[in-house]
Amino acid sequence: MNESVLLLSLASAVVIGTPILLAGLGEMMTEHSGVMNLGIEGMLLGGGVVGFWMSTQQASLPLAMAVGALVGALFALIHAYLAVTLRVNQIVSGLALVVTGTGFASFVGSLNDSSLIYARPVSKFEPVFGEAFRDLPVVGPLVLGHDWVVYMSWVLVAVAAFWLFRTRAGLALRAVGEDPATADTVGIPVGLTRYVYTMIGGAGAGMGGTYLMAGIFSTYQHGISAGLGWIAFALVIFAGWRPWRALVAAYVFGALRNLGFSLQILGVDIPPDVLNVFPFFLTIVALMVISARPAAARRFSAPSALTVPYARESR
């Protein structure tokens, strides 16, 4: 039984890791364009609450996810306008987005006479594979037991990795993030690129939030994400801005959040608070390890122009 508790705990880690992965993957694309958006938590809640509301109004979950992504992208558009067009401090603008998104979610959550807490999604995220597959030892619960969002997130990781490092568009994107002036001279639209990828980042957070509420919780609660957005932000750094690493890291972070309770059940007394700190602690360790090795530092460091606004012909 003890083994199965841990195994199921890992399977739960994949589930809770998925919103972290979706939001983190989006933020990764944003950061590759040279824009840092600290507002993940706000976009996650703001996009998620509308996506969740959508899931309570009609049966199509893909539509709810799309609406959540759209609202997340609209929140990100605010950040893009401030950061790219007005060239304000991206950190301040991102933090403002956290407050805005959180407030927006609370506002929408309490709009009706009966608040969204009591609303239910019309349909559920069902496992993709049949019971015969899900009952297989180990791979059953870990790999084959999930709903389509988990598998979609794997596809998105592959697409992101391919897009970033194997296509011209990805090269253009990374050029904008590394050296926007040079990218500009070869005709890449720096501003437009940053707008598009900032909004893609918001869409990822919005999808993550919708899945968190409509999929994992089947309910809305105030402050439901409780810092998952910040974990997604740490994830990007921990993964060294690489999609495949983000996939693994998201599940490690998810497992760390889960493990505390499973260990309590097994009689191992580690306070959950300690494990909750681990994602951030690991991120710092990863930064230290990477910066200590020049070769690694070149490969896995932040885009050079990250947080630096670009204005043509200014220095």
Binding site: M1, S4, V5, L8, S9, A11, S12, I16, I78, Y81, L82, L86, R87, V88, V92, S93, A96, L97, V99, T100, T102, G103, F104, A105, S106, F107, G109, S110, S114, S115, I117, Y118, R120, K124, I216, F217, S218, T219, Q221, H222, G223, I224, S225, A226, L228, R257, N258, F261, S262, Q264, I265, D269, P271, P272, D273, N276
Partner: protein, 381 residues
């Protein structure tokens, strides 16, 4: 530079919008005696000034748990008392924010300020400066000339909850998500177990502490870990309903905490005790209006109508409902003492000897032990 300025203006606008939406910011709303909206004018027979009452919440009023139960109490007060004017503040944090709120309402001359969560120390700091304002704090024990305290006897309700849980066919391993391992919660777990074992002596309860009163992801994960470990029923003692959604997804029974939450888990819902704060708030407000208010410690249970039961779910049989009602009456008329000894803790020590009990006056000091059959421990410190 101009562009930079316009950016700052937009940022300020954003912050204002956020503040208006009231996410993390404390939010203040005033309602007069008229029910719900100000549309219907109340027949104010008394020409004197209305009694002004402020409520302070540490979360949001529609959290589906703790704060919503207190908000229901405020609504009860509004509906049942003439010439009263209430206001509330949400999302106030303990410490300096509590003290600032107490001072605000004190200096505005409010007659009664009710703090709905643990805030004794903050109340005692501020109260002496505003002798004309009465402060009520939940869970405190040290009174002052203008400070009283109140608390609900969780264990009364938890014993009945245990009866409901224990009577569910096939239930032997109950998962219990607790906030903090403080006396009140531990007392609740113990009473729950006494009720559950009365129905089925084989029942075991696994407790998991989340070390928070409101952390939906942590509660969800703790509940999921319990389901993974084989729990066939979930109970919760945290502010929010995250555990309910896990029970609903797992298709197992669920016992809620402190409020009617049947809408949260329509299929899993069994029952759960409720905090009925309304009558107490009304009695305090009336005593103030009549000039008969005295500082007191109020510890109310089933017999004081401070604890009730939420509606039962469809999986609860009429037989069980009748038994719960019978036990409720026995507790109210004093013929049943569920804490009657002998009681053994889960380390094998006799904590209440044969013929002994945990007297009502000493209830709030109990418990620093988990009863026999509960798996888990009270973390040190």
């Amino acid at each position: 530079m101009r562009r930079f300025r316009s950016g700052v203006v937009v940022l300020f606008a954003l912050a204002l919008v956020a503040a208006a939406c009231g996410g993390d910011e404390a939010e203040e709303v005033t309602t007069t005696a008229a029910p719900a909206t100000t549309a219907a004018p109340t027949t104010t027979a008394a020409p004197e000034e209305p009694l002004r009452i402020a409520f302070i919440y540490d979360g949001e009023i529609d959290d589906g748990g703790w704060n919503e139960a207190h908000e229901n109490g405020r609504q009860y007060l509004i509906a049942n008392m003439d010439n009263v004017e209430t206001t509330y503040v949400e999302n106030v944090s303990p410490g300096s924010e509590f003290q600032a709120a107490f001072e605000d309402f004190g200096s505005q001359g409010y007659d009664l300020v009710i703090c709905t969560t643990w805030c004794q120390d903050d109340v005692l700091t501020v109260a002496p400066s505003y002798p004309d304002t009465v402060y009520l704090s939940w869970g405190g024990y040290e009174t002052a000339p203008n400070v009283g305290h109140y608390d609900g006897a969780t264990e009364d309700g938890r014993y009945l909850d245990g009866l409901v849980a224990g009577s569910q066919p096939g239930v032997e391993f109950i998962g219990y998500v607790g906030g903090f391992a403080i006396e009140e919660v531990v007392r609740g777990v113990n009473a729950f177990m006494i009720g559950a074992r009365e129905m089925n002596p084989n029942i075991e309860i696994q407790v998991v502490w989340v070390n928070s009163w409101y952390d939906p992801p942590a509660e969800q994960q703790a509940a999921q870990a319990l389901v993974d470990a084989g729990a066939d029923l979930l109970a919760a003692e945290v502010n929010a309903p995250a555990v309910a959604s896990v029970a609903e997804a797992a298709g197992i029974g669920y016992i809620h905490y402190g409020i009617d939450g049947s809408g949260i888990a329509p299929n899993s819902w069994l029952s759960g005790f409720t905090f009925d704060w309304g009558p107490y708030y009304l009695s305090q407000a009336q005593a103030l209006a009549n000039g008969t208010w005295e500082p007191a410690l109020t510890y109310g249970g089933l017999k004081d109508d401070m604890i009730g039961m939420a509606p039962f779910g469809s999986a609860v049989t009429d037989e069980t409902i009748a038994l719960v009602e019978q036990r409720r009456q026995e507790i109210i008329d004093g013929s049943l003492d569920y804490f009657a000894g002998p009681i053994t803790d889960n380390q094998g020590n006799v904590v209440v000897p044969e013929g002994g009990t945990i007297p009502w006056e000493e209830r709030t000091l109990c418990c620093q032990w988990l009863i026999e059959g509960v798996i888990g421990e009270i973390p040190a410190g």
